[in-house]
Amino acid sequence: MKMSKRTALLGGVTLTLGLGLGAAMAQETVKVVGVIEMSGAGATAGTNYKNGAQMAVDEINAKGGILGKKIDFVVYDTQTNPGNTRAAVQRGVDEGAFAIFGPVFSGPISASMQIAQKAGVPQIVGGEAAGLTKQGVTTIFRTSLNQADAMPKLAEYFKNDVKANSVAVVWVNNDFGKGGRDAIIPELQKRGIKIAADIATESAQADFAADAIKVKSSNADAVFVYLNEEESARFLRAIKQQGYDKPIVGETTLLGAKVIELAGDAAEGAKGHVGLSVDAPNPLFAEFGKKFQAKFNYKSDHNGIKGYSGMYMLKHVAEKTGKLDKEAWLKYAHGAIIRTKDEPGILIDSKFDANGDVDRESFLAEVKKGQQVITGTLPPVNKF
């Protein structure tokens, strides 16, 4: 397989080309780099997160930006792949981003948060996996409740409202699902609830018939479903086909607008705990929901709210410090309490602790007539 010298040299030259580098941005704007799942398994969640953030950026820019500077928001797709996410976060840092916005899935966050940490760049993420804020990374901030905080609330709900003595747990085998499973099972057992079945499913799994049959034959009093959006909808359809009539309980994703839309009638009666919802009894959420619907022509799920409120959190903290200084921003944000009376864009009173975890009220909800209906409000884990 011999080649001429010229052929080989041509190849060599091609190798050394092919790398473009973003030029440094002028400091007239505040650069915020979105590193978000726009394709791959996280595309549904990522698109919502990005749209929410984009809407906040448009609003903030229309009112003059942050400290007089407009936000320059660019989004790099992660393909829901840790390696690509790392590259994208690195690119954002190299381009001098004031903050990294995203990603939403926990695996890609784990792979990239050290990069932001090394550079001292704040990273506002949508991940729920408990481990993210346990590793001493000082630049990460959540926009949703930590699983470790949400699951005890849910276990209480199983005990007091569902009154279940045994529960079948269905989870997706990625770090989000596994983290949720590892968090809920001890909480349930602590409350004397038996685990009747412990069922792992695959990310992007299409057919849930076998899992639905396992749940049904476990004879548990209720099933806890902890899957990503599209898989949740497929599972709901599969279990309804089995004629399952016991309570189907979920945490945030199961009751999301996208799941209800995809599952149709099969979502009817599903209930559980939600961190954020446009249907919550809160005029700010309702107003956000309306604006989002008008702009993107579909109903936002909790990820849209996370993107929107996260961007306002970024703005609020920057304005409180009075300058665009990352170190000052991080210092203020750890321990910051942001109330809607000071910053309506945050949508709900929130407290960010020293690890970057967020604490706030959350809700109990049920799907009725194709709508998520809020049936109760739960207080924050620690009152503030």
């Binding site: 080649m3 010298k5 052929t7 190849g11 190798l15 790398l19 390696g83 790392r86 590259a87 770090d175």
Partner: protein, 340 residues
Amino acid sequence: MTRHPVFSRIDANLATLLIGAVILWFAPAGLKSYGLYVISLWLVMSIAAMGLNLTLGYAGLKSLAQAAFLGIGAYTTALITAKGGIIGPGWSWPLAFVVSGAITFFAGVILGFPALRVKFHYLAFVTLSFATVMFLIFRNEQWLTGGVYGFSNIPRPSVMGSKLDNDLAFFRFVLVVTVLLSLAMWWMLRSPWGRAFTALRENPLRAASLGINLRAYTLLAFAIGSAYGGFAGALYAPLVEFIDPAPFAISASFVLLLTVVVGGQGYFLGPFLGAAFSYVLPEVLRATGGLYLLIYAALVLILLLITPQGIIGIVEKMRENRRQKAAQEQRNASKVMLEA
């Protein structure tokens, strides 16, 4: 004047490799971390593709498990080097590199046994199931691999007491390893082994009749190709500093297969071109915004329609056309002469 035997052995591939290495040593000095990360990734994946190129391009064995070997190398390296390393920070990486290569070599031998019995797409199925099993081990054996939570804080190697935390230094380290592995591959392909591998692909029956031990060479091709996957893994883990099962899933094996095919299977420089196409081009195409994956997919389709032999195939085709044309002209000229 007769040429010194050493010079006569230096061919175009080697010249390109060495010139390319010198350019790459100096060229990225101005690049920031992102650029260095992308070209480091390119080199690492080139090594993995080089291994697959040996099994597929030279020996003609269709393997769908190269990402699994990459994973074995990466997890082995993570386990040996993490938390200060099992034999101290200085020597843990070299140990990990050797062990990664050795484990994947023997895994390749074991996987190669069925390769003797089955061929073509049946062989692809055998490797596919191996890749699936490996993925499940990476994901489910949490006590060993960290499971879905992954393995974080994998350190960069140290050279002569100083840790390669600087991205440029690490890139140059990757470059040196890549050049060494490429030289070994170059030497091997020109040796009787390499000729035997090609003979296996072109005509196994004739190869056997010439006294080539088919069983031994099939196993060897598989094992060496797999070991290159392991070597690449030993660099991948410290490059990303975090691993979870996702980059070693079946789809990643398919991307590596695409890399070899797109670059030009059976060409020494094919894996480098292919890896640039598979791992660098999508990053460059980000400039086109949301459409970048569509554009990328269209490029793959068009490329393989135009030139099934890969990127190098285009150049080869052009040369072939020129040769044909020259031959035609010669024929025409000689005809005139005959008539005259």
